[in-house]
Amino acid sequence: MSRPDRTSRTEQEIDQNLKRVYEDVANQELPSRFTDLLEQLRAKDAAATQKDGENDS
């Protein structure tokens, strides 16, 4: 803790870079494979729910 200013400054710089790398990817437009996949999963759920309903009645 002899040089807290310098240490925290370097840490800040590292975190800035980490954030930049991370956010570059995180903020990219979602590839369609993921939106398509969510749609498929949702459709499967809906189909399963319908089937359950039929079995119950």
């Binding site: 800040q12 590292i14 790398v21 956010e23 570059d24 990817v25």
Partner: protein
């Protein structure tokens, strides 16, 4: 009936891709892992406790997916490891920030447990406690991984204490000024 937690999944996919990328250093592999993790999360949504941190829950699934299935494959595709840094290095560097290429190269040389700790805490906004839970280790372990990761980055990028001022940029300058005005 309350909001379906499944509806919230989509809002975390960007962060999941970023986290996966930091683990794999390979875009195609990262997205494969996110896809697998998303399917797992969807079918196990019942084990998510509403009101708790969904991102932490998803990241736990994501890293389990990586460590159990995809880690071996990483070695097979290691030659594409430079992909991410190459892409980022093309971005204009109009300020004097630490060179992105150097940073990325140095980051890629860290052991994966230090990379994930640094990304969760330094970029993902996770508390040490959340990061510890996500990685299934003690809080002290996460702290030490973050510290060792930072120290290693500094060593790899050759930022000696005397050089620190040379890599000073607008952001840092702001911090310096801020510190001075506080003092």
């Amino acid at each position: 009936m309350t909001a379906d937690p499944k509806d919230e999944l989509v809002t975390h996919l960007g962060a999941m891709r970023a986290f996966a990328m930091s683990l794999t250093r390979n875009a195609a592999l990262a997205d494969d892992i996110v896809q697998d993790a998303l399917v797992k999360a969807w079918s196990n949504i019942g084990s998510f406790q509403p009101g708790t941190n969904m991102r932490a829950w998803l990241f736990t699934i994501l890293r389990n997916t990586y460590y159990s299935h995809h880690r071996k494959r990483k070695r097979e595709v290691e030659d594409t490891e430079g992909e991410m840094s190459a892409g980022l290095a093309q971005k204009p560097d109009h300020d004097g920030r630490l060179q992105m290429r150097d940073f990325n190269t140095a980051f890629g040389e860290l052991p994966e447990e230090q990379r994930e700790a640094l990304v969760l805490v330094g970029a993902g906004g996770f508390s040490y406690e959340e990061a510890a839970e996500t990685c299934g280790v003690a809080v002290g372990t996460i702290k030490s991984r973050v510290n060792r990761g930072r120290a290693r980055l500094i060593a790899l990028m050759d930022i000696s204490e005397d050089d620190t001022l040379e890599v000073t940029d607008a952001v840092t300058q702001g911090i310096v000024t801020m510190n001075q005005s506080i003092a």
